[in-house]
Symmetry: D2
Subunit: 225 residues, 4 copies
């Protein structure tokens, strides 16, 4: 497994304990994005599902804002929702439009089981648990895309825009900010010795499960069309 | 598609609008239970996953109790949790033990993605929505097993005990009770003309999605070992 | 009772069915703001509690974003959280600072029972129910302040800035937007005849209970110092 | 302050850090129950509100079952809901009937603000947080009544049945069981050194806030009629 980008202490530990991390970040779908060999139909299928994903992902960050315990957490989480709803999602709609998928087709997309599995796992973790459970379940997505992007940036080919977006300075900065948010939330709730807290093992298990579901998301992208 | 057992008005309507209902209730796994041709290893795999399923299913019924709006709903839902936690789960542990799976192995089972997908979908429906959302998401499991049981009862073979449990008078009575609970909850919240409420279309979509995830559960049983 | 400002159809109906509406919007605390006779110590006490209130109010709007069912709802709710966390709360801190309450004192404020009662009622309504329950519980605050502001605007005196903020064009526009959001959410969930839905009676009861708790909030402002 | 009954380690610590514990457990309403001097009208007012309280209290325990992380927690919490819904609430209805309050009157009771404040605080703590938050918010009620009952048992007078119920062996055993449940849940989530976890301070603050709201409940009982 390649070395971890520096997105904070918790990420480094959780990543090291997630058996499926390599299967996720070096998935054949990801390799197809890197080399450009991924069939366009699969990419479009992925984009359509990703639109639905972004809706539930925004809801999950909104839930994080609702479960925040400090003003800093509230601002970070609500800033993320705002950016998703007002910037990322319109961008995604535009990206899909350029790829020939109009808004009506996007709205009519039936959510795939692998999509349901990951988004509902994240939301349920948040509702059943607290801010930390939500962060551990969200992290494989946010930070995994950062790690993938960092590796794929500059690889050129048909999917260069995708690779350069996630590998770019803006997204990498967001990953470092989310890593800091997570470490601060752990410190706030579990104290200075949070690394040794038994809670960390259970949060690591959440991260590992969410990582398995991310593998399923790529599998779905590769299978579908 | 075969005719629906009489588990109430909502069930009849939701069932008729769920495209995957036949794929779920007449799945190859189900046919394997009926004929006895299902390999034992697959049945054991299913039993292990079903144990984890029952835990989250109990949590979902507990959430229904928390979201109840009448004393009758509170009693019905809490009675179900109590029966699951104090009767069904010990029975399941015993059933597994007879099949050679001890408690430690059960506890150590890793939850399969198809299991995560369905259970978290149900719980998230309940947390994000209300009692009705929860019922629409739970119904394919509770009432679908009833319909399957009613069809498979008496088919004999290796899985006769399973078939006769779900086809038996006790489980069939429970299905009728749950059907009544659902119809009453709809009447209480949406009024006497609940059948025509736009809410019904959205609840029907929940039921249909949950049905698709039940298909995935059987697929998992058939694939795994 | 004076006539209702036009913040939409649902507001007009809920307001007419809330017995405590007059007691809330024409409370002695409100009259003290209008005439300027409210002792400054009571206003400061109110400001300190209102700071804590705003935190939970932001969390409630974040929960609304998490429970939204359309992109428009997601954007409206997340826009409100963003404005609260990044604009309103800093303004409130500044207002308190000018009144001689520094940030440390604000943070150290013990939440009064009347504050706990209203904020937790709103959040619990949202968690236990859906977007509509949350809107019905939030509306007395958002729209009641609008109605009070519209009446008090231009009354001059020591509390003129407060009166003119809530009576001003910006806040009045926000009230009309929230009214539209509520009416649209009702239409989306209950259909074109939502006014006649039994759900409306239950949402009206939520609105009426929340109104009673707003009376308690003013009582607390008047009693405390 | 009198010495604490032995309901576990967490209770002992939280109790010692709740400034309002004495005001709650030795409230004038409680003294009125002990001496028999409490006017009957106030007791009836309390009984009516307590009926509504029990509904939301049952919902809170159901939420605890939904948020449980072990089978033992699921069983303990669901067993409590079951007992509340099927035993305690019918008993309460009967007690009210003997006191001249029929079921229709009970159902028509308007929930007092102090009742709303405590019950919604508990439920919101549970929804926003985890099983531990819920336990810390519930404990002042469950265990405070135990401590009061232990002190009042055998005091005779008009309210002897009430005093002897909460002071009796059955309720005292339940308090010890809940104390054990809480200590086990802390151990499970925070590890063997849970007493030193920063989480304990925040849970202690929840307990202290809930205790203040219990004082408000007795105030309401004393004021109302």
């Amino acid at each position: 497994m390649t070395s971890a980008p520096d997105y904070g202490r918790a990420f480094g530990r959780w990543r090291a304990q997630a058996p499926a991390w390599g299967a996720y970040t070096q998935h054949a779908f990801v390799e197809g994005l890197r080399t450009g060999a991924l069939p366009h139909a699969n990419f479009l299928h992925y984009l359509r599902q990703d639109y639905i994903f972004l809706i539930h992902f925004s809801r999950a960050w909104a839930l994080a804002a609702a479960k925040s315990e400090t003003l800093a957490e509230l601002r970070a989480a609500s800033g993320t929702v705002h950016a998703l709803a007002h910037v990322e999602m319109p961008l995604h709609v535009e990206l899909c439009a350029r790829a020939g998928i109009d808004a009506a087709e996007l709205e009519a997309t039936e959510e795939a089981p692998a999509n349901l599995a990951y988004t509902r796992y994240v939301l349920e973790a948040g509702y059943s648990g607290d801010f930390l459970d939500l962060m551990a379940a969200l992290a494989p997505c946010v930070l995994g895309y950062g790690e993938i992007g960092a590796r794929l940036a500059g690889s050129g080919g048909a999917y260069a825009p995708w690779c350069d977006t996630y590998g770019g300075a803006e997204y990498q900065g967001l990953c470092r900010d989310v890593g800091t948010l997570i470490d601060s939330a752990l410190l706030h709730r579990l104290g200075p010795d949070w690394v040794a807290s038994p809670r960390m093992a259970r949060l690591g298990a959440r991260f590992a499960t969410a990582t398995r579901l991310e593998v399923g998301f790529w599998d779905m992208g590769l299978a579908g069309a």
